[in-house]
Symmetry: C2
Subunit: 120 residues, 2 copies
DNA sequence: TGGGGTGTGTAGTAAAAGCTACACACTGAA
DNA sequence: TTCAGTGTGTAGCTTTTACTACACACCCCA
């Protein structure tokens, strides 16, 4: 399943679920709040257009109450602030990312906690 | 200094240094080995063109014996294999990256080692 | 005094990304 | 029975990305 399709499907089902008990989540109204053309949003939901740009995805995620990074990933993208973190120290950070590729998620979360708590 | 300029400057000085004792590092010959037009390489070196695409940067880095991730970073890019690692598990990996933003490089390298050694 | 080698200037090009604008057809309530 | 609201189809657009093609001017040295 292409990024175009999975992003669209996810978006459509999440929006429709919300539209069930909140009429402000009609395709048109949501598009207006986000600041894009309704027809464009329609095409994205059905996979007739690839996912939109980063800023637009961010707004969509916020409106739906979904995780920004997860939606960006669905769209085949990575948040630009993460890119910036990598670009600041390419060698060390690249090494770390390649190291954790197959590590269990639990272990990765644990590492985040340790770093934040300053355990070293 | 823009990405265009710093990438160009770095490339030019590294290439010229090598050209000093190895004539196969003339702009033209290097361009031919890489598979791009000499005039294009010339413009990139002088910052008249933005850095080339990922594949081309990779080839340049390999020719110069420089770190790929570092050169990509100079160009304002991030290696697509790292993007893929993030997209696989956006939430956990994003959390980790944001956590290490201000951590000392030594600590990050240490973490890579620990994960590879399977210390958990 | 050419003929290979050097770098550079000008002028394009193809494809992708990220959209807009507007008309159309349907539905459900007033 | 109209009209506000729903989603959708068609046809564009601008900007960015990542280059190519080719001619020009200089230098050196055989």
């Amino acid at each position: 399943m292409s990024a175009t399709d999975s992003f669209g499907n996810f978006l459509r089902t999440r929006r429709q679920r919300k539209a069930g008990d909140d009429p402000s989540f009609s395709l048109r109204k949501l598009a207006n709040r986000i600041g894009i053309e309704p027809s464009y949003l329609s095409k994205i939901e059905r996979g007739h257009q690839p996912p939109p740009g980063e800023d637009t995805i961010r707004k969509i995620a916020d409106e739906l109450g979904e995780d920004r990074d997860a939606m960006l990933a669905l769209a085949g993208k990575v948040s630009s602030d993460l890119l910036e973190i990598i670009r600041q120290r390419p060698a060390v950070v690249a090494e770390l990312l390649r190291a954790i590729r197959r590590a269990p998620a639990r272990r990765i979360t644990e590492m985040s906690r340790e770093v934040r708590d300053g355990e070293w």
